[in-house]
Symmetry: none
Subunit: 246 residues, 2 copies
């Protein structure tokens, strides 16, 4: 698919924006982490790792994107080197369990309950991602793409259901003042997670070059909300808990 100058630049600039954002998140979380009492640092430790992993993958995505097109007569024409969609999926395979573990650190569960919940979520999220990938690389209007997405969505719905219930249950156990933050956290989570299947499905409706652009931009925005913004709110919860305990 040939991209216009504008289409190429949008993707290029958005990917570069995300590289900078993840880098800033990495440094920022590293620095504020040490301002928390040791016991409340776990969420930010995990968040810092997520930023590093994501930044690595966005560099790779960016380089893969620029290698996939070259300019010919004022348009961006495929070079033949395929754009590697796998980076996103490998990134999620690593970052989604870490982000879920981040959330679990603020749910006021016993160590045993945490372990059980994390295990369930890690298995379900790995299946969601692994089943989504073959669909991602199938042709846009193929049945295969729809079937893999459907299989992936089973686990997607399961995870959101489990998280919704667990966040709800945790509300009563949270210290005074944390509740509104937990609602924000839940909203952020549902919103950002919902964005991924939308970015996946959009190319089926807006075809060709526009499809490539909206889906790359969609995934990128979702990643900014689901990773740094989400971690920032988990940090605010951790901080409030630390203050209440004092």
């Amino acid at each position: 698919t040939i991209l216009s100058l504008n289409q190429y630049n949008i993707v290029y600039n958005v990917l570069s924006f995300v590289i900078a954002t993840m880098l800033a998140g990495f440094i920022g979380f590293l620095l504020i982490r040490s301002s928390l009492p040791a016991k409340h640092r776990n969420a930010l430790t995990l968040g810092t790792l997520v930023m590093a992993i994501a930044d690595y993958h966005y560099f790779r995505i960016f380089n893969s994107f620029t290698a996939a097109y070259h300019i010919v007569g004022g348009k961006y024409v495929p070079t033949g080197i395929p754009f590697n969609e796998a980076y996103r999926y490998v990134d999620w395979l690593l970052t989604v369990p870490l982000l879920l573990a981040e959330l679990v650190t603020v749910l006021e569960l016993t160590p045993k309950e945490s372990k059980v919940l994390i295990s369930k979520l890690v298995v379900a999220s790995s299946l969601m991602i692994a089943l989504g990938y073959p669909g991602q690389i199938s042709p846009v209007h193929s049945t295969a793409r729809t079937l893999w997405a459907a299989a992936s969505s089973v686990f997607f719905v399961y995870i959101l259901y489990v998280l919704f219930v667990e966040i709800q249950k945790s509300l009563d156990k949270q210290p005074e003042g944390v509740r509104p933050l937990m609602f924000t956290l839940r909203a952020l989570l549902l919103l950002s997670w919902g964005f991924y299947p939308i970015a996946y499905i959009l190319p089926s409706f807006v075809g060709g070059a526009t499809g490539i652009v909206v889906s790359q931009v969609g995934y990128s925005i979702a990643d900014v909300v689901a990773k740094p913004l989400f971690t920032y709110f988990v940090y605010k919860v951790s901080k409030l808990k630390a203050e209440v305990e004092e």
Copy 2:
């Protein structure tokens, strides 16, 4: 050997996955290290070094792999630049002694006993790796490959035997609650170490391109279990010991 798009992509994506994992391990171990009392930090200090060394080598392996093939008519054809298998062996030469020293820190030995044990293990593991390498670069169905592997295996078996006995002996000296973790650690060790000779030998059974893929993927999985996962469990043991002492 010519690789199909899929075969190439599997190796490519797995190598990239390991780069990201080692990076995350490096940052994570560095951060949680300082949460332990000074006396119990040694294992994570060693683990952090292992992650850095491995990440460096995986970058090199990745670059060597991409330089070794280029796309010609929809297939990945050798460029003539040989894929350098030595990176793995150099990596092991450095990381295996460090990982063994990591294990020794949690075996409740006297400084003198630790020293003797580490010396034995370092010599044996260096021989295991050094003797394995000439076999690794010999043709797949050659007698040389089998003979070098056999020589290497002598030390492999010796190391596993020594470790098995030492972990067993340490069980009685471990504080309450550490035992189950020591069993997990031993299982992880045997499992991951067992993977390396399997990844070495597989190309003799599944030849050609598939052989290359399974052996690279096998080594990569083994490295993720033997390095970050193993270090994480050694850290859990160290942490439990620190808590018991308090």
